[in-house]
């Protein structure tokens, strides 16, 4: 029955091409190898001790931001709903993971991953409770309501007794003292997040999600249960943000509610927008660049947010769908691009010789 409804609308001509492209981009062994190579490039020096704590810290922060950006992109880019409270979900995950790791009494090797999972689940629960009412609204109203919930979460963290309030919570985990293990966890989770989002988007569910973004009314008319898919995406995204929060808690070692305010939500949004709404690799690249850039430009830290805002406005004015748009980076395409250029030049050279 479901299958029938999915097959009913005849795809427009452009759609076929797109499907073809999607099929070509299907995950391959090569991508896995590439990720492994990327991991090795950073992990070996960390294990060998030739990268100090400062740099490994930045690498871990990159992984955390990649998770946050990719997960927000799932909702903002693929589902097309603007969410301004992502840092709120992250904070829930961070506090849940930290409190669990501190009070469970389990050995750190067990309590850390369990804490991350718990952080993700708590954030997902919050996402569910918030999503059920919030997703009845859409567009601007959804943005505002998520913003409101984000602020409420922050205020509640300040008000409840067990979070340390405004003074903050000192997180005592041992994983942060072992940069190699920590980096491995962070990298694996970031890669997993990107993979899960990629697989999700290229599944039936993902097509339904993209259909909702393109035209909610048409999607509903084609038999897609829009509320169900919206909620599912929202909860998945909140879960990932919660896991990122758990990593973050161990990384910074001290949690204060101020860190998870509206500004952090916008910063994640900036990463999504710059990388391209609905581009996973775009998100990864922009999260990396925007995490490294402030460290490189330490001397210009006063101008950082100013530059961010100008870039954000310019990108919106001239490339409203983000720098990468919907496109994904891939080795094949890059290789093809260089081959085309190089080949063209060689052909040119040949002509010149003759």
């Amino acid at each position: 029955m479901e299958k029938q409804t999915m097959d009913l609308p005849a795809p427009p001509p452009g759609c076929k091409k797109r499907l073809q492209r999607l099929r070509e981009q299907s995950p391959r062994l090569r991508n896995l190898l590439l990720v492994a190579l990327l991991y090795a490039v950073f992990a070996v020096p960390i294990a060998g001790g030739s990268i100090n704590r400062y740099y490994s810290g930045i690498l871990i922060m990159i992984c955390i931001n990649v998770i946050l950006t990719v997960s927000l992109n799932l909702v903002s880019g693929f589902l097309g709903q603007l969410v301004l409270g992502h840092a709120g979900f992250m904070s829930v995950g961070a506090y849940a993971a930290a409190l669990f790791a501190m009070h469970s009494g389990l050995p750190p090797a067990v309590s850390f991953p369990l804490g991350l999972a718990l952080g993700g689940l708590t954030a997902a629960l919050f996402g569910f409770c918030i999503g059920v009412p919030a997703l009845r609204l859409h567009g601007d109203y959804l943005a505002i309501i998520t913003l409101g919930f984000g602020e409420i979460i922050r205020v509640l963290i300040l008000a409840v007794p067990f979070t340390g309030g405004a003074r903050g919570l000192t997180v005592k985990t041992t994983i942060s003292r072992r940069p190699f293990a920590f980096f491995t966890w962070a990298f694996a989770l970031a890669a997993l997040t990107a993979f899960v989002v990629y697989a999700f988007i290229h599944s039936r569910h993902g097509r339904a999600v993209v259909a909702i973004r393109e035209d909610e009314i048409a999607a509903e008319a084609s038999g897609i249960n829009t509320t169900y898919y919206k909620l599912m995406t929202f909860v998945l995204s909140a879960f990932m943000a919660g896991v990122a929060g758990g990593l973050y808690a161990s990384h910074v070692g001290a949690l204060t509610p101020v860190k998870f305010d509206f500004n952090y939500s916008t910063e994640i949004l900036v990463m999504v927008v710059l990388g391209g709404m609905a581009s996973i690799t775009g998100s990864v690249v922009s999260a990396t660049v925007l995490t490294v850039l402030p460290e490189v430009l330490r001397g210009f830290s006063a101008y950082r947010m100013l530059a961010y805002s100008i870039i954000l406005i310019l990108v919106m004015l001239f490339r409203p769908s983000g720098l990468m748009g919907e496109r994904e980076l891939s080795i094949e395409k890059l290789a093809g691009f260089f081959r085309a250029r190089f080949g063209a030049r060689r052909a040119d050279g040949g002509k010149g010789d003759a």
Binding site: M305, L306, M316
Partner: protein
């Protein structure tokens, strides 16, 4: 008596929210944009007042005029530079919203660079003994705020309902395309709306400084958010709705504080918003428009 004076205090701060909310509401009514930068216009207004009043040493009325003019200009400038291109192209609303957030971050950081992030203190803008309103002793600032805000809102209502420009504004908010076909220069109408909204925000800024004489580059953030909540609460696009929403938020806030919950005031405000949005998605005075295919 204590309860009543809390209500009046709430109405005082609420009327400031209402003034700012009007700007959100009018802009949204015409271009369907949540102008996130509107809250920061308040901050700009406060800094201009500070510059004219404290640094240049001019009298209050000069500061009011300067702040009004500057904010109106800033509002028009922002619309011209950041939004118009997108509005003309009919860009998706999410792009517009992100642009507005960008403008907001820009203004905050620009002013942080110019004036540092440490708070500047304003002199007492409205010195004098408390006034009595119907037998109730009310702080002078609260009294002035209430009277100014109500007068301005009445004036605005008059402007929108009776003037030629007001008619054009109403037409544009009903259907921009049709308004254009009727020979209305919608660009001018949009610019005018931004100017009026920003001017009201400047007045709101001065009144706010009268009550809370500390200004910093981020003051517009929460103030703007709450004003926006007021606008949504009352039904965005509706002028009486913005007033109603502003008063409601102000009173709710003041009562929460009086009940000893000053820490959770913001949560209460957003809680009310969420409740109202769920029960009446179009707000208290908003029109419930069905989405057309």
């Amino acid at each position: 008596m204590g309860f009543l004076s809390q209500i009046v205090n709430g109405l005082g701060i609420g009327s400031i929210y209402a003034l700012v909310a009007l700007g959100y509401s009018m802009v949204y009514g015409i271009v369907q944009l949540i102008n996130f930068a509107h809250g920061d216009i308040i901050m700009v207004g406060a800094y201009v007042t500070y510059l004219v009043l404290v640094v240049a040493g001019a009298p209050l009325w000069v500061a009011v005029v300067a702040s009004l003019a500057f904010c109106a200009l800033a509002g028009v400038g922002i619309e011209r530079l950041a939004y118009r291109r997108l509005l003309r192209k009919g860009a998706p609303r999410i792009s517009l919203l992100i642009t507005a957030i960008g403008v907001s971050i820009f203004l905050e950081n620009l002013f942080q660079l110019l004036f540092t992030s440490s708070a500047k203190s304003m002199p007492n803008l409205f010195p004098g003994p408390p006034v009595s309103l119907g037998g109730l002793q009310v702080g002078r600032v609260t009294g002035i705020t209430l009277v100014t805000a109500v007068a301005l809102m009445a004036l605005l209502q008059l402007l929108v309902q009776k003037s030629r420009m007001g008619k054009a504004m109403r037409a544009a908010s009903e259907d921009t395309g049709a308004a254009k076909l009727m020979g209305i220069n919608t660009d001018t109408v949009v610019a005018f709306t931004f100017a009026v909204g920003s001017g009201l925000a400047a007045v709101g800024a001065i009144l706010y400084c009268g009550a809370y004489p500390l200004i910093n580059p981020y003051m517009g953030n929460l103030l703007g958010l709450k004003a926006f909540v007021a606008a949504v609460l009352g039904g965005i696009g509706s002028i009486p709705g913005a007033m109603l929403g502003g008063f409601l938020i102000g009173v709710a806030e003041s009562l929460t504080k009086a009940a000893g919950g000053s820490q959770i005031t913001d949560a209460v405000v957003f809680g009310i918003l969420i409740l109202v949005l769920l029960l009446r998605p179009a707000g208290l005075c908003g029109k419930n428009v069905r989405e057309k295919v």
